[in-house]
């Protein structure tokens, strides 16, 4: 089946709001190429469980595309239409299983050497959509905070290397009460600019304390979910003929309740958290990877105004000789390695924040927890500069956001 043959009944399996949106835009969908549409449906089918910003973004996209004439649509999508897919794709159930289609399409495009063309088309489309979107006004400039290096007092590795030329390095931070000061500052931003999923606290270990007004995701709190997921994966792998693609497809269909999450939880956040494990690589094993990926996904999907992430030591990767000798504690930690992980992750945090609207007014802080080192990137502060002025964390936030 091709998009031009779409009928409303084919969206019967979609959740209610997604179904309604699909039916409303059926005439648009019928004009889009098969190489593109399932990618859009992959997002649409999740509509009922998306963050408000994601929904608004999809609404805008659909609205904009619906406003285009047939000629304009042909112009926007000619590069996608030029891609050739096998007839097997037409026969697949791409309406109800768009994620599976995208997975297979991706493999097919690589195999047929069309991935570069798809990539070009996708980037051109993204740029075009970005420039066509109406300007957004943020309630307040974004603030990102990364707290790294928990449990490490010294390191031979140079820190903040990727960020130094962009920000001001502070060498005399007063660490006392620093974590509390940062949490309090984030809570204050939430109180001043309340909105759903706009202010986040991502914790690589156990939350420092309960917080007010923050969307909180914690690695330790999700331990039961991880355990259930790993058990599920093992059982799937044991099935004859199971391969990584089938495994990934099955994982994508897992619902929060199947992993032991409460039925009365926040359905949007619960689904987000499940996807961190089912779509992320390494998130099930290393807390640093979990915190980095959660930060990336929160920024990409929820576009928060405030995001504080605190990295905790991850489990140590045993070298082969220890594995063979069966020595070393099972849950031994690697604080030094985790500092290196988190240092790079904080660079990615900044990159992902800068992809969002209002990047020129955004601020970013990285603090080595319990230590006197921090770096701040802010519109008001110069890059590539060192400051030896003594400052506490509350003052540092004020400086970054002032």
């Amino acid at each position: 089946m091709l998009p031009r043959d779409l009928q409303p009944a084919q969206f019967a399996a979609y959740p209610p709001q997604a179904r309604q949106l699909a039916v409303e835009h059926l005439s648009l969908f019928r004009q889009l190429p098969l190489s593109f549409l399932p990618g859009m449906l992959r997002q649409l089918i999740e509509y009922d469980y998306q963050f408000p910003v994601e929904r608004a973004r999809l609404n805008q996209e659909l609205s904009l595309l619906s406003s285009l004439s047939t000629t304009q649509l042909a112009d926007w999508f000619h590069a996608f239409a030029a891609l050739t897919l096998s007839t097997a794709f037409e026969r697949s159930d791409w309406v109800t299983k768009p994620a599976q289609f995208v997975e297979q399409e991706s493999a097919y495009l690589w195999t047929t050497h069309q991935l570069d063309a798809f990539r070009e088309a996708a980037m051109a489309y993204g740029d075009r959509m970005q420039s066509a979107r109406p300007a957004q006004t943020l309630a307040t400039p974004r603030l990102g905070i990364a707290i790294i290096g928990q449990g490490v007092a010294t390191t031979p590795e140079p820190l903040f290397q990727m960020l130094r030329k962009r920000g001001t390095y502070f060498s005399q931070i007063k660490p006392e009460g620093g974590l509390e000061a940062l949490l309090t500052a984030v809570e204050a931003r939430s109180a001043s600019h309340p909105a759903d999923y706009a202010h986040w606290y991502i914790e690589g270990g156990t939350p420092a304390r309960p917080t007010n007004g923050l969307t909180t995701v914690s690695y330790d709190a999700l331990a039961p979910v991880r355990d259930k997921l790993l058990t599920y994966m093992q059982s799937q792998i044991a099935k004859p003929g199971m391969g990584p693609e089938e495994l990934r497809t099955n994982l994508a269909q897992l619902a929060p309740a199947q992993l032991g999450m409460a039925h009365n939880g926040d359905p949007v956040l619960d689904r987000f958290q499940v996807k961190l494990f089912t779509e992320g690589s390494g998130t099930q094993i290393f807390s640093t990877t979990f915190a980095q990926w959660t930060t990336r996904e929160a920024l990409r999907r929820a576009e928060p105004l405030t995001l504080l992430v605190r990295y905790a030591p991850r489990q140590r990767q045993k070298p082969m000789n220890e594995l063979l000798a069966n020595i070393g504690a099972a849950n031994e930690l690697d604080p030094a390695g985790s500092l290196v992980d988190a240092d790079m992750a904080s660079y990615y945090h900044w990159i992902n924040q800068q992809r969002l609207h209002g990047a020129d007014r955004s601020s970013f802080i990285v603090w080595w927890e319990g230590q006197s080192h921090a770096i701040v990137i802010a519109p008001t502060l110069p890059g590539g500069v060192r400051s030896d002025s003594p400052l506490d964390l509350k003052s540092l936030v004020a400086l970054a956001t002032g």
Binding site: L115, A122, L247, M320, N321, D341, R355
Partner: protein, 396 residues
């Protein structure tokens, strides 16, 4: 498959440059850095004076060792200025002796098995990366053995990843069965050697992209029983030595050295894989693996000098199978994967050193990873008839 086109809205271009421009930029960066750091010369002007004419007698003794600097490594963690700290051995010991190619592109599928198979056939293979299937086209081992009439003992593959057991031999009608290389999977050997006492199944889960998946191995690989007969290693010695090593790649180099001593193959292919731990998302482990691989490459070159069968007549070729995604590409997650197909993930380098290679020269001219097989073919005197690559003239 390791592919993702999930981000329909990838809007960030690498420094607003076209892919070819980015690839050239990456190459120039490597060139400038090597020239500054090691005093290496630019190669373009030296070509006309190339002295690499070898006598037929030299071809008979010629040994080739290929190391895939495994699991994908980026410039910024290796040959870019900020990466130099991670590759002291290659930079200070190997690069000054080598011809260095700054711009090696891989236009194929960026999965480790399929990309390594493509390196070995000189054709961009399209097989399923996660299946234990043979390449569609003849491998370098088949060309080598059939054209030159070499015995099975003269071509070997050592690969730590369990999915590589079929890489030694294609299903090509005109080549194929019985003409390929023997494949040693040291981790699988170790698991088999130790299975009576301990469960080492976790060792086999080496595919960091899908951490809980270990492909079924069936046929083609070196068996435990051959350990003593071929490598002159008792199972006890093998397992005891393994217990002193920190990684599967160290085990591979240990096995490679045993092979060099006992079998002295003329064509030895070693696939490193530790670096692929990057898929776990832990940057420190990725860096540790690069540093280890750097050390192992130098150790292997040292072993070449120490082995009478290899010293003075061996060419070593070191190259990554491909790179990893750029930090700035919104379709990826930086170093963690190689899914975007961006220039950083497609553009790598190659180092050639030893017999017949001009030392201390940097070549900027673009080459493809599939050019490796026909180049070795010219060096050794066989024809890579079905390869789609071209011999690299700077190596000939």
């Amino acid at each position: 498959m390791p592919y993702s086109i999930n981000d329909r809205f990838a809007s960030s271009r690498l420094a607003n440059l076209a892919p070819q421009e980015v690839a050239r930029h990456l190459g120039r960066t490597r060139r400038d850095f090597l020239r500054d750091a090691t005093g290496m010369a630019l190669g373009g002007t030296l070509l006309s004076a190339s002295p690499f004419v070898r006598a037929a007698t030299a071809k008979k003794k010629r040994k080739i060792i290929v190391i895939t600097f495994g699991g994908g490594a980026r410039d910024q963690e290796t040959f870019a200025p900020e990466g130099q700290v991670n590759i002291p051995h290659m930079l200070n010991e190997l690069a000054p002796q080598s011809s260095f190619f700054t711009q090696v592109t891989n236009h194929g599928i960026l999965g480790h098995y399929v990309a390594t198979a493509s390196l070995a056939t000189g054709v961009y293979e399209t097989l399923n990366n996660f299946s234990a299937v043979p390449p569609d086209h003849p491998t370098i081992f088949e060309y080598f053995r059939k054209d030159l009439g070499r015995p099975v003992s003269d071509a070997w593959v050592v690969a730590p990843s369990n999915g590589f057991n079929r890489i030694g031999e294609s299903e090509s009608r005109s080549y194929g069965a019985g003409l390929g290389a023997q494949v040693i999977l040291p981790k699988r050997l170790l698991s088999a050697a130790s299975s009576s006492t301990t469960d080492y199944s976790h060792l086999l889960h080496d595919n960091y992209e899908t951490p809980l998946y270990a492909p079924q191995v069936s046929g083609g690989e070196f068996e435990l029983q051959q350990l003593e007969r071929v490598l002159k290693l008792s199972v006890d010695d093998f397992t005891q030595h393994a217990k002193s090593l920190s990684s599967p790649d160290e085990l591979s180099v240990y096995i490679a050295r045993q092979l060099m001593r006992q079998e002295s193959p003329s064509l030895l292919w070693i696939t490193m894989h530790d670096i692929d731990v990057a898929h776990s998302g832990a940057y420190s482990l990725y860096i540790d693996a690069i540093r280890r691989t750097d050390r192992l490459c130098a150790a292997l070159w040292k072993a070449v000098q120490e082995e009478p069968e290899y010293a003075g007549n061996t060419t070593l070729l070191v190259l990554p199978d491909f790179g990893r995604d750029a930090d700035e590409d919104s379709g990826g997650n930086g170093f963690q994967h190689h899914r975007t197909g961006d220039p950083a993930s497609r553009t790598t380098w190659m180092m050639a050193l030893g017999q017949g290679v001009r030392p201390g020269v940097v070549y900027d001219s673009p080459v493809q990873s599939i050019d490796l097989v026909p180049s070795i073919g010219v060096m050794m005197g066989f024809s890579a008839a079905q390869s789609q690559g071209k011999p690299i003239r700077e190596l000939l």
